[in-house]
Subunit: 122 residues, 2 copies
Amino acid sequence: MVWKFSDGRPVYVQIMEHIQTAVLTGIFPPGSKIPSVRELAADAKVNPNTMQHALQELEQSMLLITQGTLGRFVTQDSAVIDAARNKLLHNLTQECIKKYAALGISPEQAANLLLECGKREA
Amino acid sequence: MVWKFSDGRPVYVQIMEHIQTAVLTGIFPPGSKIPSVRELAADAKVNPNTMQHALQELEQSMLLITQGTLGRFVTQDSAVIDAARNKLLHNLTQECIKKYAALGISPEQAANLLLECGKREA
DNA sequence: GATACTGTATTATCAAACTAATACACTGGA
DNA sequence: TCCAGTGTATTAGTTTGATAATACAGTATC
């Protein structure tokens, strides 16, 4: 797993995003056990407490479940994963629309910008 | 001017965005004098230093110019404003594409999401 | 039972960022 | 000259984040 943090935003928040993305894209499959706090912390070159902080926050979204001392597991309920994914997508889309609107750009125009930029980079 | 701040991000950064948007959308027209630090600070219910911090950071983009003790003015150079606007749009678009890509969404799919969400809200 | 591995909790410390209070320097105009 | 209004500088206080060291409780395995 590639850990890359930019300053400006708390590391633990960026860790949350990394792991959430890993779950939503199947890097951590449903029902699978994820590495231990200490293992992940060592991998990310981060203090175990920081990693723990991120994981505990993430559990509020129900994507991760702690099984006592057995470790942490990704939820087996694919509906939960889909719901989280849809919610994230919806939030992201609304956020984009809002930011574009602040600059006087309509959703239609924004969509065109995405298409053009996507082509150019491709 | 409507000042609305959310926590989690520094107030001065949010002020920067507010004012930059005001310049790029013509609320503060090119060449016009903007309110004084203390005036803006009182309006935003913020410490004058916080406002000053935001304004000084913003000057690095050349959108604002300090005229000694006469006050601050929006640049008269519309090319600078256009360039800043285009840069902001480009950054925003790339940021969106990146975030969607992290969820396995192509720019084309993202564009569709924007269109659908735009319609639904309209 | 002993060991090693889980997650968790507590406390302390350090650094950085943000906000705030105050004082300073300059200019325009009455 | 004096006053009011600019932007600016300095300093301090508060908060937040990250790290660190330790300790605790439970489980699987040998």
